[in-house]
Amino acid sequence: MFTKIKLFLKANNYSHGLLTGFSFPGIGMSTAMLGFGVYAAEAGLNIYLCMSSLLVLWSMPGMVIFVSLYTAGTPILLMFTTVLLANVRQFFLVLSGIKLLNLENFKISLLQKLFWAHFISPTGWAELVRISKELKSNEIFPFFKGLSFGLVSICILGTYIGFKLFDILPTHLIAIPVFIMPLYITILMLKATDIFYRVAVVSGGILGPILFPYIGDWSIIISGFIGATFGLFAHKIQTTNK
């Protein structure tokens, strides 16, 4: 029965995306948001501000910085600059994600493109990479719409639960579902078959945590650049040998 429902939902790209949003990626992301809800409640945000920051920012580093600086009573310009500098990765994710969505096949305005680009998080992007190998180019966008709706819904729920139950939730037990996201996304990344991306994944994975204690958030960008450049070299060597 369950398999039949699953097959029926997968037959439509939007509902396939929705189903994906409510499965492993959604569970991992929503438990991370549950942690954010706890953090926001502890910091003294009201529920409206907490939920608005989730929807308006849709980026974990941006949300955590917002709450931290808000409680510290930071000036507006510092808030803008800190969030701007900590989110350079969004540029590369959107640049790559928009290409994967093949939006040139759809007649949509710049505003609509910006709207959907808003939901390209690391989880959303990783799902796009995975599904781009399974679906036709014009089927990816409807899938992403469903996925975004699923992820947003489940994350709203996670944040709300975290916010309301922040003083009674056992952190050790919350940690188990939170662990899903890093493992799941790393596995998705390791599925890359092209040597260009494989070398980038391994180099980025090694360099990211090594650089972090020295350069903080910049470690993500620097490891991205170095990892991709290593990938490019590996690709060139492979092409030359062929």
Partner: protein
């Protein structure tokens, strides 16, 4: 005018949220704008994808080594061991990635319960 806004304590959190949103929006905006200029099959397009691959993996490994929130209450050994087991199982059964994921999560759960009760 600006002073009137910034001294209003009711509005201030929302103005700060707007400032934070603008900080993120700018990157997304430039990402969308420049995506039209890059050809799908070009070497540069591949390099951009590789940056996203490397960044995302770097970020995930950072969560394992330097977590914040609920994960930070667990031991590095537990996170790392469960993560490695999950990845190794995936590499052994690459056609069934769910197996690696589930075994990794179960291992992590067992390690946490072991730390709590033994």
């Amino acid at each position: 005018m600006i002073e009137k806004f910034t001294t209003n304590t009711d509005l201030m959190p929302w103005i700060l949220l707007l400032a934070a949103a603008l900080g993120i929006f700018l990157w997304r905006f430039f990402g969308v704008l420049l995506s039209n200029k890059i050809k799908n099959d070009s070497q540069f397009s591949k390099w951009i994808n590789a940056v996203a691959y490397a960044m995302t993996t770097g970020l995930m490994l950072r969560i394992i080594f330097f977590p914040t929130g609920a994960l930070s209450s667990t031991e590095l050994f537990d996170r790392l061991l469960a993560f490695i087991i999950g990845v190794v199982v995936f590499l052994c059964f690459p056609k069934k990635p769910i197996v690696g994921l589930i075994i990794g999560i179960i291992t992590f759960g067992i390690l946490i319960f072991y730390d709590l009760y033994f």
